[in-house]
């Protein structure tokens, strides 16, 4: 007799979703998380008196809508803001606005617009194909069974449905980089770099890195998952996590927060449960981890508990990150050159042209701070005023590229970098610095400490083709099962990867139930 059917490590969105589906199927499930609140990277924190920000993920743009329905998240309190346009800020104040399939401003002409529509059409058909793969478990490379063949057949069919040119294009571009693809399609510099930004967001790559087309398509699946555009969650991203926790409990799962798992227990050749930092031991038929693969296998299980080839794969698994967050508490609403007040609530991005993006990346490689950054900005307090004291606002920005451990160290590095970032913002929002009452820079190593993912990696491990689909996180531990009997994965480190998508958690639960592993 075990204490539970399944223990899920991590009450991030994927852990909670996996728990919900399993509990719905009548399984007894315990979800454990080291943090005090549910949601993992979907979290809200008060970083200055009265200022609450989504302190890790800030945009909901690719969440699978079937999960919203299955788990009735609306009833559980999930409220989304309005879909946002992306406004790419230009220093002359003539900004590029991307709203759905239309682009305007920044001198775009009808040729650019037509090119953009064609590009979107192509991307949409590729992303649709990927969505087929994303909604099911990834087929195995060898030894497929019928489920895998079906997935491949569906994929084959979808490939056939692509026009011949599109098919040829997909084969060609998926292995190259977004830089070349942008240059093939567009001549407008800001348009190119704004699209390229979506390809490098959350990665450790520049526009010229291979795999950036794949990561762009990964984000583009959002549209097919039923999400209409980029939105903010009312109440902050933590409210999203909270709604999932409410749903999971309603399904019958038990959630225990403030409980850090120190080891995944194994006797002979099977997982038996977990040990907590309190020393408590809890047993279960299965342990399903939504912690990242490096944490799960290296730290919690231990290399000595697995075969050496697997230890090697874990050791070689890449999970670096160049993504930081800047949080500013503002005494009033800032003003951006060329933006109306209502536009301030949209998604604002600042990026140099593509060559500049590469230049911005370079210092990170050598553990140095850059003097040029890429910003993905939200001022959530306009749509959701309750997040800040009356009349005040907060600005949060996803910032690229920030080294994991700069040579000068973070004690000296942070104040320097915060000043640098604010002065870069001043170029678009003159006077913003004077409004800042509190500033905070959260770097990858901080995320590692606060949210538990190795390297602070957005996707729990770089989402590149060698670590994606049927190879995610690595061969031998795909399809949510791992090479270790009784240990499963359900987090962003599993197929199809990171971002607030919910699919790893959902697919893992379905796979476990289908296998009759419980």
């Amino acid at each position: 007799m075990t204490d539970y059917d399944a223990i899920i490590i991590g009450a991030g969105h994927n852990g909670l979703i996996c728990a919900s589906y399993l509990a719905k199927a009548g399984k007894s499930v315990l979800v454990l998380d080291a943090r005090g609140e549910p949601g993992g990277c979907a979290s809200t924190r008060e970083f200055a008196p009265g200022h609450h920000v989504s302190d890790c993920a800030q945009w909901l743009s690719q969440f699978d809508q079937s999960i919203v329905k299955d788990l009735d998240l609306k009833a559980a309190g999930l409220k989304l803001g309005k879909p946002k346009a992306t406004i790419s800020l230009q220093s002359d104040g003539d900004h590029l606005v991307i709203d759905g399939d239309t682009i305007s401003g920044a001198g775009v002409d009808s040729a650019d617009q037509a090119a953009y529509r064609d590009f979107k059409k192509m991307v949409r058909s590729f992303a649709k194909l990927m969505t087929t793969l994303y909604r099911s478990r990834p087929p195995k490379l060898v030894e497929q069974n019928w489920t895998d063949r079906l997935t491949l057949m569906k994929l084959g069919l979808s490939l056939k449905l692509l026009s011949r040119e599109h098919l040829r294009d997909l084969m060609r571009i998926v292995m190259i980089n977004i830089y070349d693809v942008m240059n093939e399609h567009f001549s407008h510099a800001a348009l190119k770099s704004t699209i390229a930004l979506d390809a490098v967001t959350g990665t450790n790559m520049g526009p010229r890195s291979p795999n950036t087309v794949y990561s762009y398509l990964h984000r583009a699946t959002g549209e097919h998952l039923g999400q209409t555009g980029t939105t903010q969650v009312l109440g902050g991203m933590g409210a999203f996590g909270q709604s999932l926790a409410t749903a999971a409990e309603k399904c019958g799962a038990k959630i225990q927060l403030g409980s850090s798992v120190t080891t995944i227990a194994k006797t002979d050749d099977r997982i038996t449960g977990v040990t907590l930092d309190s020393g408590e031991q809890i047993s279960a038929k299965l342990v399903i981890s939504s912690a990242d693969p490096s944490t799960t296998f290296r730290r919690l299980l231990g290399y000595h508990q697995m075969e050496a080839g697997m230890a090697k794969r874990v050791e070689c698994y890449r999970s670096r990150s160049g993504t930081a967050k800047l949080h500013l508490a503002l005494s009033g609403l800032p003003s951006f050159t060329g933006l109306s007040e209502t536009q301030l609530t949209e998604r604002l991005v600042i990026t140099p042209p593509m060559d500049g993006m590469e230049t911005a990346l370079n210092p990170m490689k050598y553990r140095e701070l850059s003097d040029l950054h890429i910003f993905d900005i939200s001022i959530p307090t306009i749509e959701d005023p309750g997040l800040a004291p009356q009349g005040q606002h907060s600005l949060t920005a996803i910032v690229h590229y920030v080294p994991y451990a700069p040579d000068i160290g973070w004690e000296a590095g942070k104040p320097q970098l915060i000043n640098q970032l604010i002065s870069e913002l001043e170029g678009y929002a003159p006077g913003i610095g004077a409004l800042v009452t509190t500033s905070e820079l959260v770097v990858p190593s901080d995320f590692e400490a606060s949210h538990g993912m190795t390297g602070g990696s957005w996707h729990h491990g770089e989402l590149s083709i060698d670590q994606a689909l049927m190879m995610r996180p690595f061969p031998g531990s795909t399809q949510y099962a791992t090479a270790v009997e009784g240990l499963y994965l359900c987090g962003a480190g599993a197929h199809p990867g990171g971002g607030l998508q919910g699919l790893p958690g959902r697919n893992a639960a379905k796979e476990i139930l289908k296998r009759g592993a419980l």
Partner: protein, 394 residues
């Protein structure tokens, strides 16, 4: 032994000056990057030295890795398929190791030199794999291939010769035992191990002792008809005695690029080296699955009719090709024509009668021969001397 020789790009062993002096045929081969004699004076006479008196084989090119540290035993237990705990201090164990797919990477011997002090002696270079295996273990791996020179001293008079050299009471040493001596002020280690299936030893010394060791051995052994032997003679002896050879009878898993060309321990007749009682070792889960599902191949020793070695032959069952030969030789002592073959399941069980399709050539004339053969259950050469303690006087 790291000097690059003047004539070749190959390395030379610490015995090279002596080996070269005795290599009348000047017939050299490349063994793992070292220049080593294929034959010294006559393959058959060298072979008969091993079987009737003493043959000396320079095995310095073997790779030697020292494994030490608090986790040494646990490390090895995860690395190899058998239970390392069963190898006592000053004992040697034959072992194989697999990758995670349960495919054999190499075979070798594990020398236990202390509580947590082991030496792996392997055919293949294994630095990379052994290093990856240290993840999660408190062990140190040192490649001491160049720090240890070795000679195989094999044959009925080998114990006597080594005793004359100063290895007191060597006849008391059990098979797979290790004894420590000193030679000219430096350590000399003897293990009762070998590749010939008869009474025999392997002698291990620091490279500085190599030349003196060789000189004294041949001096003291002269009356016992000691002879140097090259790799061709050893090849004959090992086939007769039933030993597999990496790169010949199986491809080391790490070197294989084509799908399906690797072999599992079961497919090499080495299932007895796999101990599933151990909760974890590389390849365990794959091998458990194979045990359930069945293997693809069976390793078979064949007694082939006639005297034409079935080298590279196809093996037929009726009209159907069911296997191929990996090693074959006419074995002079056993007076038998032996072949090792990989046979597709379900064929190749002991007693199965098959046909070897042999091609041979005399003066540019090729002949095809269909030689009936039978799967035998044990090596054709069995010497009781191999297992006797005290070692029998000749």
């Amino acid at each position: 032994m790291s000097d690059v020789s003047r004539d070749t790009m190959l390395l030379t062993t610490p015995f090279h000056s002596r080996v070269e002096a005795m290599c009348d045929l000047n017939d050299w081969g490349n063994w793992m990057g070292y220049t080593t004699p294929n034959a010294y004076f006559d393959i058959e006479l060298e072979y008969f030295a091993v079987r009737s008196t003493t043959g000396v084989f320079d095995l310095s090119p073997m790779n030697k890795y020292r494994v030490t540290g608090p986790d040494a035993q646990r490390y090895l237990d995860r690395l190899i398929t058998r239970d390392v705990g069963k190898i006592g201090v000053d004992r040697v164990g034959y072992a194989i190791w697999c990758d995670d797919n349960g495919q054999v990477m190499d075979d070798g011997t594990i020398f236990r030199l202390g509580e947590q002090d082991y030496r792996i002696c392997s055919y293949q270079r294994a630095d990379d794999w052994l290093a990856w295996n240290t993840l999660g273990f408190d062990v140190t791996i040192e490649n001491e291939s160049e720090a240890v020179a070795g000679l195989a001293v094999q044959g009925p008079t080998s114990c006597t010769v080594l005793t004359l050299l100063g290895c007191t009471d060597l006849n008391q040493l059990k098979p797979f035992g290790i004894a420590h001596y000193s030679f000219e002020g430096r350590p000399l280690m003897v293990s009762r191990t070998g590749f010939t299936g008869d009474l025999g030893y392997e002698v291990w010394v620091p490279p500085e002792s190599a030349e003196a060791l060789w000189d004294q051995l041949f001096e003291l052994g002269r009356d016992y008809l000691i002879k140097p032997i090259g790799s061709h003679a050893l090849e004959l002896a090992r086939i007769e005695a039933g030993f597999l050879q990496a790169n010949v009878d199986f491809m080391p898993a790490e070197e294989v690029v084509r799908v399906g060309r690797t072999r599992s321990p079961f497919e090499l007749g080495l299932g007895w080296l796999v101990d599933f009682k151990k909760p974890l070792f590389n390849g365990r889960s794959a091998l458990l699955k194979e045990q359930e599902k069945g293997s693809r191949y069976r390793f078979a020793m064949l007694d082939v009719e006639g005297n034409k070695p079935a080298e590279h032959s196809f093996i037929l069952k009726g009209d159907k090709q069911v296997g191929t030969v990996t090693s074959a030789a006419w074995c002079p002592t056993a007076k038998a024509n032996v072949a090792y073959a990989q046979i597709e399941m379900p064929h190749g069980a002991v007693g199965d009668e098959l046909v070897a399709e042999i091609y041979y050539q005399r003066e540019l004339h090729w002949t095809r021969l269909l030689a009936p053969c039978k799967v035998i259950d044990a090596p054709i050469f069995k010497s009781p001397k191999r297992w006797q303690t005290p070692a029998p006087p000749h």
